[in-house]
Amino acid sequence: MNTLRLDLENYRDLLAEYIRTKDERALYQAEQFSKQSMQQNISPEEIINVHLRSLQELYPELPDYILDSFDFLMETMMSYGLAYQEFQALREKQLELKSEISVAANMQKTLLSTTKPEIEGLDIGALSVPAKQMNGDYHHFVIDDEGSLGVAVADVIGKGVPAALCMSMIKYAMDSFPELRMDPKYILGSLNRVVERNVDSNMFITMMYGMYNTEDNTFSYASAGHEPGFYYHKERDEFEEISAPGLVLGVSPDSMYEQYQKQVDEGDMIVLLTDGVTECRKGDDFIEQEEILEVIREYKDLPSQEIVENVYKYFERLQDFQLRDDFTLIVLKRDV
C-alpha cells in the first residue's frame, strides 16, 4: 500500500470513496490516516477541520446548521488534543528516566564490583543477583596487608534506587578504612556510626562481616542483625547456624558488636547469605531452613562457585524464575 498523504485532497477523496462504496477498505485507510496523524502530531481539531472542508467541497449546498455543528464539535475535541500532547511529553520524559536509571545501574555495578580473590587453600564461591535493576544486596572481598581475607555481606532495607544509593555509601565508608587488619566488630561499629548519621529514620542495613585468617585457619565474624549463615563440619557431617547477636546498622549511634571465632578444619565450609535466600517463597509458603540446608548438602562436594550457582538455580526455579528479593550467597571452603 502506498503511503497516505495527510492532505485535504487525499482525505476528501477517501471520504468520497467511502460514502459512495461503504467499503471496509476505505475505513481501513482512515485508520492508517489516524495513526499517521498522531505520529505527525496532528491534533483532533485539525482533523475535524479537514473533514469539514472536505464536506464543503463534496457537498457545496450543505446547510449552515451542519457546518456550524462542526465548530461545536471542534471545541469539544480541544481538550483531547491537549491531553494527547501532554501524554506524548510525559512518555518522552519516562523514556529519559528509564535510560537514566539504567545508566545508574551500570555505575552501581562498576562502583560496587568486587573481585573474588584467589587464595591458596581456600575455595571461594560468590553470587549476587538483583531482583530489580538495582541491587540492594552487597558483598565485598578484601585482602589485608597480612594476607587475611575480609568478607562482607550486607542487605539494605528495600530495593531499587534508594537501597542502591545507601549501598554506595557503605562501600565508600569501607574503602576509607585503613589497610591494616581490623576486627569485624570494629568494622561494624564504625560502619554503624556512618550509617546512623546518614540515613533516614526508617532505613537500616544488616551486615555480616567475617575475617578468614589464612595462617591459622580461623574465621572470626560479627553480625549487625544479619540473616544467620551456616557452618558445615566435614568430620561430623553437620551444619550449624552462624549467628551473632547485634543490632542492625543505622538504628542506635552507640551499638557494640560481639565477635566470635571458629577453627576451620579441612573440608569445612562457611555459608553466608542474605534474606533473599531464606525468604524465598513457594507460592504463599516460605521455605524452611531445612530445605536450604538440604539443597546445599546436595551440592556440597562441588567446587564452591558451582555450589552457589546450583543453589541459586534451585531457588530460581522454585520461584518460577521471578526473584522477589535480591539474592546473595557466598561459600568459603577450606581445601582438603
Binding site: I157, G158, N202, T206, L247, V248, V251, S252
Partner: protein
C-alpha cells in the same frame, strides 16, 4: 497483600493498634502514616497488637524502627504484643528485641 489497621483509644495517651495481614513494602507507608502520629504525644503509650500479622519484611521493620526513634524523640512508649514466631524471628535476628519493648508473655503460637 493487604493490611487492616484498627486504632482504639481506651484512655487519653493510651492507644491500641491492631494489625491484621502483611506488613511489607506495599502496606508499610500506610502503617507509618497511622503509627507515627500516635507516638508523637509526650508520655503516650502505644500498644501494637501483631497477633494477626503473619508476614513482615524489612520495610515493615523499618517502620517500627521509625516509630521507636519517634518515641525517643517525644518521650512516649511503644509496646509490641502477640507477635507470631516468624515475625519474632525477624526482630530477634535484627537485634531489635534488645531495644524494643516486646511482650513475649503473650506471644502468638509459643
Amino acid at each position: 497483600m493487604n493490611l487492616n489497621i484498627d486504632v482504639k483509644q481506651p484512655e487519653e495517651r493510651y492507644s491500641v493498634m491492631t494489625l491484621e495481614g502483611e506488613v511489607d513494602a506495599f502496606t508499610a507507608p500506610k502503617l507509618k502514616e497511622e503509627l507515627l502520629p500516635l507516638t508523637e504525644a509526650e508520655n503516650a503509650l502505644v500498644e501494637v497488637d501483631l497477633g494477626g500479622v503473619n508476614y513482615m519484611d524489612s520495610t515493615g521493620l523499618g517502620t517500627f524502627i521509625s516509630a521507636l526513634k519517634s518515641t525517643k524523640e517525644h518521650g512516649s512508649r511503644m509496646r509490641l504484643v502477640q507477635m507470631e514466631d516468624r515475625v519474632y524471628r525477624l526482630f530477634k535476628i535484627t537485634g531489635l528485641t534488645e531495644i524494643m519493648e516486646i511482650d513475649t508473655s503473650v506471644r502468638g503460637g509459643m
